[in-house]
Symmetry: C2
Subunit: 117 residues, 2 copies
């Protein structure tokens, strides 16, 4: 291997519940945006995904965990309000913490790959 | 979160060279099997993939790294011999080492997720 920084270790992680995918990068971002904007529709628009897809993702998370991460309230001029639950916040925090640790893991392995090459 | 071992952190990793995928789990297994069996055709058969796909994978690795991981020699009754290079062995060892460390990473995060839930 050459001595330049040409090698990069990359990867992705997700959390499973009872052997089913629960949350990964995409769903975590949707959860975060929905909580910030208070609206699933706005989050979907900002992420450039359909409302339908966003709704299914939230529904998937709510069912997989057997308790909701987001509560969707219908009505209102803006077409409903979305509210993250304490459980939703907790899972988002934990996923983001693990993601940060994972970035450090990847960075250190990339460095050692380029150093030992 | 419940106190059972219901949460699992899962993931996958790969190595890129100059921002292009070089080797991941599938290619690493193909590289290993081809080296063990001395034949790309036998490795493809054992992995249940087409010879064409296997050939393209090896070719991709050989080109991405700008030096071969496997040398394919044509001819012979068995339809050619495949030989792993020193560079191929080195990259395989490094990938497997990182994969092992990654497993430990995932295991520890899964444990802490279930412990703190």
């Amino acid at each position: 291997m050459s001595s330049q920084n040409k090698y990069k270790v990359k990867g992705r992680i997700w959390i499973e519940i009872n052997d089913e995918t629960f949350i990964g990068e995409g769903k975590a971002l949707l959860l975060k945006k929905t909580a910030e904007l208070g609206s699933l529709r706005k989050a979907a628009t900002e992420m450039n995904i359909s409302y339908r897809k966003a709704w299914y993702s939230i529904n998937h998370m709510n069912k997989a965990a057997e308790k909701p991460v987001i509560i969707l309230k219908h009505g209102g001029k803006q077409g409903g309000i979305a509210e993250i639950t304490d459980f939703g916040k907790e899972i988002l925090d934990k996923f983001e913490k693990i993601k940060k640790e994972f970035s450090i893991f990847l960075e250190s392995r990339s460095k050692s790959l380029n150093r030992n090459s």
